[in-house]
Symmetry: C4
Subunit: 287 residues, 4 copies
C-alpha cells in the first residue's frame, strides 16, 4: 500500500491498510479488537455446553438466552468484517477462494446453518456438530497481521527443523510400537485382569508413558511390566533432549547470519557479509 500520499488514498485503500496491515496504529488496534472478539466468541460458544448454561426443552434459562444473543452479536460482527474484507481487496473472488477467505467464511457459516436446523426439529447430533464448528474460528488468530509477524521466526525455525522433527517422531513411534507390543505380551500373560487388552492399547499406553504424560488409567501390574516401563521412561526422558538441541542450533545459526547481513557491499550492494570481510565475496570489490 502506498504510504507516501496518504491524502490521496481512497477509502478502499485506507480500509485495506487497516484490515490487512499491522504497521499502522489503526491496523494494530483493529487486530487487537478482532482478537478480543474471537476470544470472547469462543468462550461464549464453549460455555453453551456447560451444565447450567445448556438449553433444556420446556425450561426458561436466562443464561442460555444471553449466550444465544451474544453468539449472534459476534456472528454479526464477523459478517460485517467479512463483507468489509471482500469490499476492500482488489480481487474479491481471489480472496473468497483463498485459504484465509474460506476460514473467514467458516467462522460465520455455522451460525446461519444452526438457524435452519433449529427450525427443523430432531437433528440433535448434527446440531451439536455444527455448533462445535463455530469454535474453528479460533484459527483466525493465526491470520492476524500482528500474530503472523511475531510468529514468523517460530514458524521458520519449525519449518527448517521439520526433517529432524519428522525423524524424531518416527523414532518415537518405532519405540512405542515395540514397547506397546512387549507390554501387551508380558502383562496379558502374567496378569489375567490386565488392562493391556490389545496391542493398539499397549501402543497408546507407551505413547502416554514415554512422553511423560502418565495418565495412570492403564498401569503395569507385573514386576516384569514395571521393569520394562522404567526402561521406556528413561529412554523417553533421555530422547527429548536431542531435538531441543537441533532447534537451538537452528535459531542461533539464523540469528548469527542476520547480524552478519547488516554489512552490505558498497560495489554490488549485496548483504550477508561477515564482520571481518575485507573484500566482497560476491563481486571481489573492496569493502
Amino acid at each position: 500500500m502506498s504510504h507516501k500520499n496518504r491524502e490521496e488514498q481512497t477509502v478502499q485503500e485506507k480500509m485495506h491498510e487497516i484490515i490487512f496491515g499491522a504497521h499502522t496504529t489503526q491496523g494494530w488496534l483493529f487486530d487487537m479488537g478482532l482478537l478480543i472478539v474471537i476470544v470472547l466468541s469462543v468462550i461464549s460458544n464453549s460455555l453453551e455446553t456447560v451444565n447450567g448454561f445448556e438449553k433444556v426443552d420446556g425450561l426458561e434459562n436466562p443464561w442460555n438466552d444471553a449466550l444465544f444473543w451474544a453468539s449472534w452479536v459476534f456472528t454479526g460482527l464477523f459478517t460485517i468484517e467479512y463483507a468489509l474484507r471482500i469490499y476492500c481487496v482488489k480481487k474479491p473472488w481471489r480472496f473468497i477462494f483463498s485459504f484465509w477467505g474460506i476460514v473467514d467464511l467458516l467462522a460465520i457459516l455455522p451460525e446461519y446453518l444452526l438457524l435452519l436446523f433449529s427450525s427443523a426439529s430432531g437433528h440433535a447430533s448434527a446440531f451439536a456438530a455444527i455448533r462445535s464448528l463455530r469454535l474453528l474460528r479460533v484459527f483466525r488468530i493465526l491470520n492476524l497481521s500482528w500474530f503472523q509477524r511475531e510468529g514468523e521466526d517460530l514458524g521458520n525455525a519449525i519449518w527448517r527443523a521439520r526433517g529432524k522433527i519428522v525423524v524424531f517422531i518416527m523414532v518415537v513411534l518405532i519405540i512405542v510400537t515395540i514397547a506397546g507390543t512387549i507390554m501387551y505380551d508380558v502383562e496379558s500373560t502374567f496378569d489375567s485382569e490386565s488392562k493391556f487388552t490389545s496391542i493398539p492399547l499397549g501402543i497408546y499406553w507407551a505413547i502416554v508413558t514415554m512422553t511423560t504424560v502418565g495418565f495412570g488409567d492403564i498401569v503395569p501390574k507385573t514386576t516384569a511390566g514395571q521393569f520394562i516401563s522404567a526402561i521406556l521412561i528413561l529412554v523417553g526422558y533421555s530422547l527429548i533432549i536431542v531435538p531441543t538441541g537441533f532447534v537451538s542450533a537452528e535459531v542461533l545459526d539464523r540469528k548469527r547470519r542476520r547480524v552478519i547481513s547488516t554489512v552490505s557491499c558498497p560495489s554490488c550492494l549485496t548483504e550477508d557479509h561477515d564482520d571481518d570481510a575485507v573484500f566482497c565475496k560476491y563481486c571481489g570489490g573492496e569493502m
Copy 2:
C-alpha cells in the same frame, strides 16, 4: 550511595546501604536474614491450616498457640523492618506508594486485620481469606537485592523472549481449544458415561494432556478419543522443543555480545578482546 567517605555517612545513609543494597557484607547478611524470616513465617502460617495444628473452638491446642505467637513475632519483625525502610529512604511517601512499598505493607497488614476480625465473631470465611493473604509476603523474596542481582539475567532473557513466549502460548491455546472441542464431541457421542461433560472441561483436559501433566482424572475411553489423544500428546511433545531453542539462542547471543563489547584496545581501537587480556592481540600494544 557514596562509598568513598564511609566515616561521614549519616546513620540514615548507612542503614539505607544495608537494607536496600547487597554489595556490602552487612547488606548481604540482612538479605539472608530477611529471606529466612520470610520462609519461616510462610511455613508457620501455612501450618495453621494443617489438621492437628488448627484451632478448634472449646479445645486447648498448644501447637496452635505456638503458631499464633510465632506469627506475631514475625509480623513484629516485618513491622520494624517496614518502619526502618520508611525512615532511611529520602522520599518516604514515594516509597510507601511504590510497588514494593505496597508489597511490604501487605506483608504486615493482614495480621492486624485478623486482630479486628477475631474479636468480632462469625466471619469465618473472611477470616480464612485474610489469613491466606499473609502468605503473599513470599513475594517479598523477589525484592531482595541479592535475588534481583542473581535473577537479572533470567529476567532479561524472559523479557527479550516475551514475544515468542506469548505467540507460543497462543498457539498452545488454539490447539487445546480445537482438541478439547473434538474430544468433547467424540467422547460424549460414543461414550454415554463420558467425563468430557462440556467443551471448557475438554479444553482443561487438553491443557493437562498436551503439557504432559496427565492427572488421569479425565481420560479418553473410546478408541477414537485415545487416537486423538495420542496425536495431541505427540504434538505437545514436539512443540516444547521450539521455545527452548529461542531462549538458548537469546542467552547465548547476549553472552557473546557482553564479552565482546566490554573491552577495546587503546592503541588500535579494535574490540573483541578477552577480559583478561594484558596486550592487544591485533597490534601488541599494552591495554
Copy 3:
C-alpha cells in the same frame, strides 16, 4: 554404483540403485512405498489383537479373515523384496548374515512359522508370541535410505553425547535408588496400608516420579513422604535441563565447524568462507 553410463548398467545394478539407494527418484519412491507397506502391515497385525477383530473358535468373523489375508499379502510383498535384495547384491551371503539382512528375514519368518503352528493345535501362548514378533518389522524403517540420510545428524549428535547421556542416566539411577529406599522406609513405617511394598517398587515409583511421568498408581500418603516427593520432583525438574544444554552445544559446535571447514581460498589459503562465496573475503581473489 556407477552413475555415468546409465545405459550400460545391468538390470542387477539398476535394481541395486533403486532398492539400496535414495538419491534417485525411483529409489525415493521405492523407499516411500516400502514405508507405507511396513506401516500398514504393523497396523493390520496389531488390530488382530483388538476385541472384535480377534479370532474366536467356532465363530465366523469376516474382519479377522480380512486381516488374515492382508497379513499374507504383506508377507508376500516382503518376501519378494527380500528375494530381490539377495538377487541384486554382489555378495548375497554377506547380506543375508548382515544385521539388516537378519532384520529383513525376521520380518517374514514369523508368518511362515505361524502356518506350522496353526496346523498343530494347542500352542496358544507360543502362537501369540510369534504373532507379536511380526511387529518387529517396524525396525526396518530405520534401514530406509531416506531415513538414514535424514537421521544421520540426530544419530551423530546422540553418539557424540553418549558419554554425557550415560553419566546422566547413572546419576538419575543413583538418585532414584536412594529416593526409592527412603520412601519405602518412610511410607511403610508410617502408613500400614502403604503401596510401597518393597524397595524395587520404591525405585520404580521414584523413576516414574523424577521423570515427571507421574502415573498416580503409587502415591505418598504420609506428610514426610509427600515432602520427600516434592524434593525429588524439584531435583528431577532441575536436572533435565543439563543434558539438553550439552546436546545443544554439540549440535551447534558441529554446525559451525561444517560451515567453516568446507571451503578454502585458492589464492591466500584462508578458510572460514561461506558456501556461496564467489570471491575471497580476505584477498579478493576468485574462488
Copy 4:
C-alpha cells in the same frame, strides 16, 4: 604416580595406580568390576524386601538364604577392597577420615551391624533401617575414577549455572506457594469434600502439577480450581524453557574457549588465545 619406571614401582604404588586411577587398562577393568559388584549388591539387597524373597519366621525360604549369602559375599569383596585402599595410600588415616573413605566404610559397616542385631531379637524397625543403609553404597559409583572423568563436564556446567538454578527453584517455590494457597482457599470453599485439606498439601499439589508430574491423587473439582490449574500448568510449561537456555549457553561458552586454548604463545607459553590473534594478549610477543 610415576609412569616412567614401571619396573621400579613398588607393589603398593602399582596397586594405587590400579585402584585409584583410571588411565591404565587394569585401572579401567578394576573400576568396571567394582561398578558391577556395586550394582549387583544393590539389586540383591533391594530384592530382600520383595514379597516372596522376604524372611518369614518359622519358614524355610531358599531365595532368602541365597540373598543372605550373596550379601555376605559382596560385603566380603567390599571389605577386601577397603583394606587394600588403606594399604596402598600413603597416609591411611587421612584416607579413612576423608569423605570417600567414610562412604567406603559405610558400604560395609551396616552388614556387620546386622549380625549384632539379628542375634538380639525384637529390634525389627532398627534392623530394617540398618538394612536400608547398605543401599547407600550406590553412592560409591560417584567415586569411580572413570565416572569422575566422564562426569566432570556435567558437574562443572551445573556448578557454573548454580546461581541460575537456585534463583529458578526459588521462583518456582514462590509460584507454588501462592498457587497452593489460592487452590486451598478456592477448593475448600466451593467443594465440601475437597482433597485440598491444608495449605502445605496445596503447595505439594502445586509442585506436582507445575512440574508436569501430575499424580492425579489430588485434583481440582471446581471450575474455578480447574481454571487456576490450567494457568499454573501453562506457567510451568513456559518456565522450564528458561534455565535450559542458560545451561546451553554455559556449555557452549566453555566449549568455544577450549577450542581456543589449542593455540599457545611461543614467547610466554600461555594458552587460551583466539585463532585470529597476531600478538600474545599476555606478553605482547608476536605469535
